[in-house]
Each structure stands twice: as structure tokens, then as C-alpha cells.
Subunit: 280 residues, 6 copies
């Protein structure tokens, strides 16, 4: 009966699970992410030395898991969007835990309904900018392209990207904020993003594989060459302290590939920081 | 560049992979089954002391893997059926390696085209007789019901079943050959099946979880209370020696949950026996 | 937010966790047993083909986990006893999930308060009959001796035992029901127990290592030479169908040593059968 | 500073490690067997309920590990033979822990020096009767053929064999005691062996993969279809109680493939029984 | 029969194990640390390129493992203190291998007897400054507070701390040397410590989780955001070269969570450097 | 039927496996490296953002695996040399995947035949400069000394070295390019190498353990204190962009010790960069 970080009911923030991973092209299993995070979160302190504040002072709830239509991609995306909107209608800010990266699409759609001026900051190893992948438009590999189509490519910033096809890199460089001068340096790229999205409502979508797999081995595609846990925390804190973050997701944690459970623990810690940063 | 058991090209038998596992409701990963089997098969002898014959005397090929439409269940099922038919048109008997159990449906459809009088012998821990599952008609939990609808429930025999909902057990008992007196004893149930399907073309669909998870830990749903490896070999040999087996599949091997690799090794060994038994 | 097998609140049966494993002398980690069981239980059918009944027709609750005084053995044992009594005072039958075997002692004490004529059936690889172990009276290795002292050694039957010191085997043979003629055959020993404890309220304490480690690798001391899953189910069903079982525990599942999760799955399945058998 | 089972120095029996695994053709790692066995043996009781005797009453030593010439097969075999002889010269019976199966060859050579009338009982999944393997005469796959050449094929009995090439099965059936009527039933084959080797000095060579990989997953080639732990113990006890066992080895435990450590535990338990049975 | 790094007897330095982990609140298993370190240490070179010296020139012994009263916290702490004193009475400097962090308390008590002016340098992810934890005063979470009470809080320096409750951070900042300006930068904080403890006898207590779990996944609570292996070596060498280190411990290595064994290997390497640095 | 990165036949570059690991002194298993790399490489993009080029524009083949004489070190080394020469005779540049480090010796010998002025850049945690190891001249621990003898020690540069015996460090410092001022900083040492080997044909031998085990846990000897994945990529790109690389190998990946598969993935990514950098 593990609940996340001692969550109370009826909070102003909600964390929920969106355990849909059926478009994962290599290693599935991110469906198990939030349950693993809930379990290990019993060992995480509620106090954050980064924010010098404790979750005890934050009101939030663990809103359970999204219902899905198993094996039905389009139907499940519609359901996720609908359920996310219902939670946000109660004036709650939402932290969503994937699932694979495709879940970001309905989540951004739902968020846009409440924040039409939405900007998205995308941390990832992969561009996710394909127009279709393995015969499908709806995929973890196309999701940021769909998001860009939804909110405008200049409302998207992409940080940490180190994998994709030529066309994606080209399209990203020309269309989104792509930071080719800070390819694999999260903090300077993040500093630029702060200036760009100042005063706008911001949604963070965080693919755990932006971290080097040394720091997050439990993921679908462990892409060497990524950032450290310290760099990621620094970048996230820069955003949470300087921008108006109104929604976040964290995706692609596949706990079964990590017997040390540190990827799930990292997920729990990131969520703690998000809860603190979004509750200012 | 592992190929299965030293397969040659242009054989009269073909083994191929059908790595579709997107409807797995608990642990996915059977998409990795055939690659794992190919790798470990380098350590399996070609000679079978059960049949006292060697694969060196059998002509078969490793036909690669089915193409799929990633995340598109219906489209993928159609593709599997189409590709299976193409292989069988060359007068080949087909051994298919899943993937989850849903792949059996298009495989039986394709086989039926060439053998309209087909009978199916189903080894499994689970009935797989639901009419729909988690909102979907097409599922690893409904597949035998779909097969029964396709070829007639009296052309289906189910062996080893020890899990399902009440309605499934009721429907199975009333409609398929279900052997309630030999619930968990494979060999006597198999002996009865031999009499029933004598003289008909037979398709074996083998869910690896018919074995107790002690013998096959690398699977989606490890259901305790199953049979031993010896019992399974005995039952399979009874069928392969006494019936006209014209097609088989082996599904639900999820190798990432088995660091000993013995589930994949078991898969390789079962395929060797199937190749020998189908090449008489 | 996994709950066991879709438990409802306010049932007549209660399942709770007693995650105390500080006296484990070799591999600890049974503290994680019930959380692992809760998680995997989402994949277990509520219907039992053994009983031909479904948990949907049984009223029971997941009563959470016992509070413990971390590192304080005696204090924790007192707390467990007290909390168990409180649950039983509401006229509930209790299924407890350890933790190591020592938790059985306060659980039997609490049960005895409500059923003074209590008999205990003990399934285990180990005698657990030492008088002290590694300098301590309170230990997973002494617990059955303490139970025997509490309720009388002739109210204790021990089945499956295959490890201990000479003195334990001697004491067991002379004092408890020890079945030296059916040393490692569960079913005939169980058949004898049925006759002995007929008409008495019965408590089952089940150490998962009574199973051969092939069937339950996730445990503190994997003792080869044990029974199969089928034998254990057969023995349990004999008791549940023929005796008045008013309390049970299942101990020593250490899930971190079993990447296949089948030991936890076995635990969930045993609890399902216990729930059904105790709710007649 | 783990020592095996609390061994004392200067015993009449010696257990030593022969961690040579460089001819392993698939998964190496049996070099780690004895260290793993030593470690887990701290959790094994010294008392055996099978023999109703305790190791406390047996005088034996842990003689450490053989020195090897790393990467030099012939040189290492010579060294093993020489060192084994030195131990046996002190009138000690030797239990050797591999390493891969090739180590049996120099061990049998050394034993023959002291017991010219030696008979060998071979438990294994594989015939190991090739004349050469992968270009080499000295291999874990040829070792029993070399042993047969050394002591005469009629002094060799092979039990549990279920894998090999046609020629090996043919040669075994015609030359050694091969028991084709009890192919995979250890106990009846063992009963026959007792009669054959009555009154001769007997050496047992036990490849752990005679067990089904359910019972011994930590091994080089996990060959499904083997015996259970109970059957193996029964067969070993038949021999140890009825024959004059003057030397034994246990080979092919590769502990890194078994996170449950039960294969090493099985090894420790077999060694305990061997020590007791050889010290009558 | 693995011994640490080829240790000789009767050295001036001693390394011993203190395998007490019964107050671990999340993942236990540090009891297995020293045995794992001993085993992997056979693969570590005795020569250190950091010190440009070899252990062959250092006289030290592997003093075995502390005796404990299993499950009895207070009794075990007393025993550890007593045994540590006995070793130090022979004018030996002691390196202790936990166990969980609580073992540091009796070790510091024993050391204080010989070095009343003792200062403690504490590397850790966690403050360990609670006054009680989960109902107990004696806990891995209170140990540094107890140490501070024992030797004076200004004799304690804490480096690398990134987790705790608000009160602990407050108390640490106000009482110990806490280095809030170098929160997660080990080397500058260590440089300050050198100045502070110059000329005093120094005891280092090193919780392996000061490292990011990328570098030490085998630990009880893998706390992301830590330092790298290079930073830790740099900090340790600064101290070992510039201060008078008269005692050390290394705690919280739980090897079973790290199939790569690199956490144990790191432990062995740290001990090698400690031996060299303490033997100047 | 996994092939590396979609390799075509008849390319100007060839990648092949040399799965010889019989001289591994601690953990063997690098024989499985290339098969693991082939499998995971299906998930690696062909496009490299580092080079801004795609493998689709490079012509190369997967040349399969070297034949070996199992257990025969000298015979296998001869065979490797012979086979490597045969591939290079077709005017192909060769990328070899070990296997343990010893395979570099015959590979350098073969390369020298075509490029007599060869220089070798050696990335490793270990010096590998012993004159003999565990009784053998041919060993993964002596291989660079043999290479130095073959091409002259001043044609060898060693980078990242952090383990060895005193004599090795002394000999390396005096004879090869050893960079004692940049002991553990890959990039500055690499920058110096560029100047030294400008205009010569260069062979890179890369032992994966030059990386810290955080980044490459799947290796024989996980030596803490190494570089990050970013540093390694930076160093490799410096060389590939500035020198004339005519041959490479990557050795000591032992995938079975890394359940996250990231070490194999790292191997695949390094090979992709090598293919791109060698095909200019």
C-alpha cells in the first residue's frame, strides 16, 4: 500500500501514473515506473536541501494511475487527455509519470486547454522529432514533433539531445530552440531557456535518458554520453526557481533493468523537487 | 550473426520470429524471445536423444522476423497473417516464435487457409478464453476464444490450464476439450488428445508458462503450480510421434526476467524437437 | 498504490504485513515481501480453479503493515502481538505476511488469546527448534520451540523439515508431531495431520523455504531438497478443506533474490487460496 | 575469510578447489564455484538428517585451491594431477570442486595411482564422450572418453545423460554402462550401478547440470529435462551408503548466473553429504 | 579462503569486518560487505599509482570479523567496542568494514580511549544527525549525533551531505563543521578540513553512499546527486597525505544490489589506499 | 539474425568478432561481447551527431567471428593473425571486437604487415605491460609489452592507465608515451598524442575499462577511478578527426555482468564512431 512520499489527499498538486508503454520500440517496461517509484520513495527524505523546504509543507496528492485501453494507442491517448483535463479542472497542477514518451502528447494537449500560451522544455537523449516511426504517426519517437505541431515549434526548447536521424537534427536546429552550441551541456542551455521562456507558463517533459545510463540504467534505450545527476538537478532547479512551471512529466524509467533501484530513486527525488518547485 | 541451430536456407520447414508483445498486460518483453533463443541455440546439440535423430538430417531455414506496425494491433495482425501465408505457400511447415499469445490468432488463420480441417492443441497456464480484456477484443487473454470461433471450439484441446476467470473455465469445460479430470497432469490429458485428433492436421500452440516458473522463469506471468520440463517433453513427444503436426508456435518467453537464460534454452530445445517431429 | 488482490475494506478476513527481519542470520530482506506480493498480485486472477470460487465473493481487507520498533526485537514483538490482537478483536481472521519466522511467535500468542485450544501446523525446511541462536533466545531459529512452549509441543505438527542440528531433530521427533516416515513427502504427512487436529482451531505457519528453492528462490536460506509447488498446493488444500483454519502466516519471502518475481507471485497465490479456504 | 563448513586442518578428508575453466565452450565462470560455495556454506547446518550424523564428528580440511598455469591447458592438467597426488599421499580422500569438467581427467589419473582398480560413476546431462572438440583433444566435452581410455570403458557408468551427438550416444551405449532403459531416471540406474561396482573403489564425478536447471541455474550449459534435487540426493545416498567411495568431484557450477545462490548452496550440501558418506 | 589483498598476520595495521546491519531501515545486506570485498580484492593490484607505493611494503593483517549478538543492538555495540579495543591495545591502527553506519559509534568510542583528542571526518550522503529514528536512539540515522555527543560536535566535520531532515541540516550547520558553501563538492570542503584538523589524530568514517549511486550502486539507500570516484579518491588522498589518520571505517556497502561487483571493488581499492596512507 | 548496425556486405571497412577470452584472470565472458553488441545495435541510430554523418553513407561489412582453437592459446593467436591478414588483404580496414585484451597482439601483428610504420594508441585502466603473468607469457596482462616489443615502445602511447604493478608503471614511464602529468585526464593526454603520431598510420586499442565502471560495468575487472563516457567520446573524436586511423579494436566487454546492457550499447556506439571516423 505504498503511496508516494506520504502524499495527502486533496492537494493543490497531483502526481499520477500514465503506465502506457506499448509504442516502446526497444525495451518496454516503463509501465512499472510509478509503482517502483512509490515503493522506493518511502526511503526518501521529505526535506530538500536544494530548496531548504520540506514536502510536509506542500499539499499534494497521489492521484493513482490513468486508465488505458490496452493495446489501443489512439483510444488510450484520448483517455489520458480526458483524465488529465479532469484533474486539472480542479485547479491542480499535474506531475505525470510515464510510461513511454508518447504520453507527453495528450498531456500537453490537456495542459494547453488551461494554459494556451504554454511553452515546453524537453530534456532527452533523443530528438523524438520523427514524422512517423515504424509505420506509425503516434510513437515515442515522434512525440515532440506532434507537440511542436500542437503549440508551435518556437514554443519548444530541447536540451541534452544526442541521438536521432539527420532529418530530426536538421528540423530541430531550424525550428525549435535546439542549442547546438551547448550540445551536451545542460546548464548553459538551460540558462538560455530561462531567458527565452521568462513570463510564460512552462511544461517540463523529462525523459530520464537525458542522464547518462551510468546514472539511470533502468530505461528503454540507455544512450551513453549523457549528463550527470548533479547537472540535471542544477538545470531543473534553475527552471523551477526562475520560471512558472505549471506541469511536468517524467518518462521512460524502466525499473526492471536496474537491480540497484537507483533509477526509480532518482525519479522519486526529481518528483520531490518538482513538487517543491511547483508549489511556490 | 547468430542463426538458429545452424539453419540452412531453403528448407522444407521454416522457423520465424513474431516479436509482437504490445498487448501483454503485465510484463512485456517476449519481443526479445527469438533473438535470445538464437543466441543460446549455439550451445544446443543438433542431435536429439529423444528422437535418436539429428537436425543435420532435417532441411529447414531461419526465416527471420515478421514485420510489424509498431503500436498498431490490428494492422500488425493482418501483416503477420499475410507474411505467414507467403511462407506457407512455398509448401513449408512453419514454427513461429512469439511474441505474446495474441500472435497465435493470425497464425491459425493463415494455417487454416492451407489446412481447413485444422485442430489446435493448446498448452498453457491460462485459459485465454476471455471475450474481451482490458477494453480490447484482441488480446493475449482472448486469443484462444478467437481461435475457437475461427475453427470451432471442438477443434480445440486445452492442456495444463490452471488460471482464468470463472466464466472462462465454465466456457472451456462446456465447449473445448478441457480435461477437468487431468487438470494439471499433462501426459494423461495428452494421451486423450491423441485419440481425439487422430488423422487430423494439428497445430500446437505452446505458451511457455504451462511449465512451472521453476522451469521457465523468463515469462510474462509466472504462474506457480505448473508441470516439469520432463512432463512437457513427454507430452510433446507423444503428439509429435502420433499426430500429423503441420504448424506450431511457442509464445510468451520473456528472456530479460531470467539471468540463467534457461527459459530461452528450453525454447531452443523445444524448437529442435518440433523440427524433428514435424520433418518425419 | 498497489493493494492486495483488489482488497476491500472492512472484510471479515484481514491480510497484513509484519516486515520484521532483524534476526535473519543469513540473507535479510523479507521486510520487502508484502510490498512485492501486493505489486505482483495485480496479475493474479481472483478466481481459484482449485476451490472453484472467486475472491470476488470473499470479504477481506488489506490491513497495511505492522508498526515496529526498528532494531528493538523485544519491543517489536510486543507491538506485533498488541496490533494483531486489536485486529482479531474485530472478529477477524488474520493472514500475516512476514518478515522472518520470528514474527510467528507474537502472532501465535495473539491468536491463542482468542483460540486457547489452538494447534499449529508448521511447514518449513528448518526445524526452528533451537533453544537459543547466536546468543539470542528470540530468533527465527528458535521460534517453533517458543511456540511449542506456548501451546504445548503436542499441539505442533512439523512438515517438510530437512535442516537443523541433531538436538532439534531429536527434540522434534520426541515432542512435536514430526512424521519421520514422511520426511520430505508433504502430502502423506499432511493427511496424518488432518486426523490429529480434526475439530481443533488450526493456525498454519508457512515458511516459503519448505518449497525447493527451484520454486521459491527468493528466500533467506535456499535449502535444496524441498517439495514442488504442486505438492504444497495439494497439502494446503487438504488442510483448508478439512480443518478449521483460523489464522495463518507466510514468512521468509525475500524478493530481491528472485529477479523472476515468481516467489512473490507464489506468495500471492498462496494467500488467495488461504483467503478462500478460511472464508468457508 | 570464509572456510568451508567450519573445516579443521589436518583431516582425513580434504576438499579443494580446482578453478580451471578455460575450455568451457559456452559460459565460463566455474572458476568462481568454490569461493561461492565456501561463502554460502556458513549458512548450512553441519548435521545431515539424511545420514543422521554431523560434520562435527568428521575430520576434514579445506585444502585451498589448486595452482594453475593460466591459459596453458596441458601444463595446468599436469599441475592438477601432481598436486592431487601430493594430497592423496597423506592418505587422504579427496573431494575436488571444479572448474569445468576437464579437471576430472587429471583427478582420475591421480586417483588411479592409489586405486588401480578404480571405477567411475558419472552424473551429467552430457555424454562428454567426444574424441575431440572445437579442435582440441582436451576439453570438458571429451573428458569422459579420456577417462574411459584411462581406466577402461567398462569401469565407467554414466547416469542422467540427455545431451550429446549421435556418435557419443552410440559409443556410450556400446562401451560404458549407459542404462538406456533409465534414460532420465537417476534412482533405478543408480540401483543397477550399485550391483555392478560392488566391492570396487569408486570415484564419483558429478556435473551439476545433471540436475534440471530449475534446480541448478548457475551452470555453463543449463540443459532442461533433468532430475530434481530429491532424486539426486537419493541417488547419491544410495551410492555413498552402499559403495566404497574414495574420491569425488563436483564440477560446472557457475555461480554468477544464479542471483539466488541456490546452485552454490546445493554444491555445499552435496559436499556435506559426500564428506559424511566418505568418512564412514 | 579469500583473504584481503594478500594480508599477512601480525601487522601494525588491521582490517576487520563488523557485519552488523540490523538497524538498516531500508535495504539491509551490508553484513555481506567484507566477504565480497575480500573476494574481489584478489583482482586488485597491491601497487597504488596514487601513492606510488605497494602494499607489499606494508605490514597489516586481516583480523576476521567481529562477533555479534544477533538481533541484540546494545549487546552487539558493547561487543564491538570491546573487540576493537582489544585489537588497538596491540598498538594497531584499525580499518573497520561495516555493516551499517551504526557500527561507527562503538568504533569511535574505542578509538577515543587511545586518542582522546580524536577528530572525525564524516563522508556521507546523509547527515545521520537525528536524535532518534523509528523509535530507537541507536540507529544508522543517529550515529553521527551520538559521535558528536561523544567527542564534541566541533570535532566532527561532515562532507558530501545531501539528505536529511530540516532539523538535522540546521543542527549540523550550527554545530559541526558542515561546509554549506561546498555542499556537494568534496575537494574544496576537504581542503578546509585539512586546515581545521591539522595536528590532531583523525578518524575517517566513510559511508559509501557519499558517492553517486552510479559509482556505488550496491548500498542501502542509493541517493542520486553524489560525487564521482575520482573526487572521492582526491579527497581521501588529501587527507591521508596531510593529516594523521589513526582509524577509519567504511560502511553501507550492500553487495547484493550490484551484479557488477564494482561497489565491492571500490571498497577494496579504498581500503588499499587507507592502508598505504595510514602506514606512512 | 542480428547484424551489426545494418551492415552491408563487401564494404571497405569490416567489423568482426574475436571471442577469445581464455586468458582472462578474473571474470571471463568477453567472448559474448560482439553478439550482445550486435543485438543492442538494432536500437542505435545510424546517424552520429558528433560527426554529423550517417552510417548509411559508409560501406562496411559484419565479417562474422574469428575461428579459434578452443583452449589452445598459441594456436588461436596464430589463427587470429592469419584470418585478420586475409581480411586486410582485400584492402579493408578492420575493427575487431574482443575477447580479452590478448587478442590485440595478433591483430597488431597482422596490421603491421600492411602498415610497417604503425603506431598504437592504448586506452586502458591497466598497463598490461607485465613480462609474464600467472606463469604465461601470452596474457591480457602482458599484451602491451608484446606490442611494444613488436613495433617499438616509442610507437606506443598509453592513456588512462590507473592500475598495474610498480615495474609496469616504471617501464611505461621510461619507454612508452605514458603522460604521467595527465594520469587520469584523457583529453589533454590525447591532445599530446595527436602531435606525436601526426602523419603515421594509427591503430587504436580500447579496453572498455578505461571508462569508470559506472559507465561500463560489464567488464572483467571494474576498476574505479576512470573517465566518463563524454571524456572518452571526446578523446576518440580528437583522434579520429586528426589522425589516420587504419585499425582499431575494442576489448574486455563482458555483457553478463551488466543487466542494463549499457556496456554493450556503449560498445555499439563506439564502433559506429570508429566506422565513421575511419571512412573519411
Amino acid at each position: 500500500m505504498a503511496t508516494l512520499l506520504g502524499a495527502r489527499e486533496n492537494g493543490l498538486l497531483a502526481v499520477w501514473g500514465v503506465p502506457m508503454d506499448f509504442t516502446a520500440s526497444w525495451r518496454p517496461g516503463s509501465r512499472f515506473a510509478f509503482d517502483a517509484i512509490r515503493l522506493v520513495s518511502t526511503s526518501l527524505e521529505l526535506y530538500s536541501p536544494y530548496f531548504d523546504r520540506s514536502l510536509e509543507d506542500v499539499s499534494y496528492e497521489d492521484a493513482g494511475d490513468a486508465e488505458l485501453l490496452w493495446g489501443d494507442v489512439q483510444g488510450s491517448l484520448d483517455l489520458i487527455k480526458e483524465q488529465a483535463e479532469k484533474i486539472m479542472e480542479k485547479e491542480k497542477k499535474l506531475i505525470s509519470v510515464g510510461g513511454d514518451h508518447l504520453v507527453t502528447y495528450p498531456l500537453v494537449q490537456a495542459t494547453k486547454k488551461f494554459y494556451p500560451d504554454l511553452a515546453v522544455i524537453h530534456f532527452d537523449a533523443h530528438t523524438d522529432l520523427r514524422q512517423s516511426f515504424l509505420g506509425s504517426k503516434f510513437s515515442h519517437a515522434t512525440v515532440l514533433r506532434m507537440v511542436a505541431d500542437e503549440i508551435g515549434s518556437k514554443s519548444v526548447a530541447q536540451i541534452g539531445i544526442r541521438s536521432g536521424v539527420l532529418e530530426e537534427f536538421k528540423w530541430g536546429t531550424e525550428n525549435t530552440h535546439f542549442f547546438p552550441d551547448h550540445k551536451w551541456d545542460l546548464v548553459p542551455a538551460t540558462a538560455e531557456v530561462i531567458k527565452i521562456f521568462k513570463s510564460r507558463p512552462v511544461y517540463i517533459t523529462l525523459d530520464i535518458d537525458v542522464l547518462d545510463p551510468a546514472y539511470a540504467p533502468g530505461t528503454g534505450t540507455p544512450e551513453p554520453g549523457g549528463c550527470t545527476s548533479k547537472e540535471l538537478f542544477q538545470a531543473l532547479h534553475l527552471i523551477l526557481e526562475n520560471l512558472n512551471v505549471i506541469g511536468t512529466d517524467i518518462v521512460e524509467i524502466a525499473p526492471d533493468y536496474d537491480p540497484s533501484e537507483r533509477t526509480a530513486f532518482m525519479g522519486a527525488k526529481i518528483i520531490r523537487e518538482m513538487l517543491l518547485g511547483m508549489s511556490k
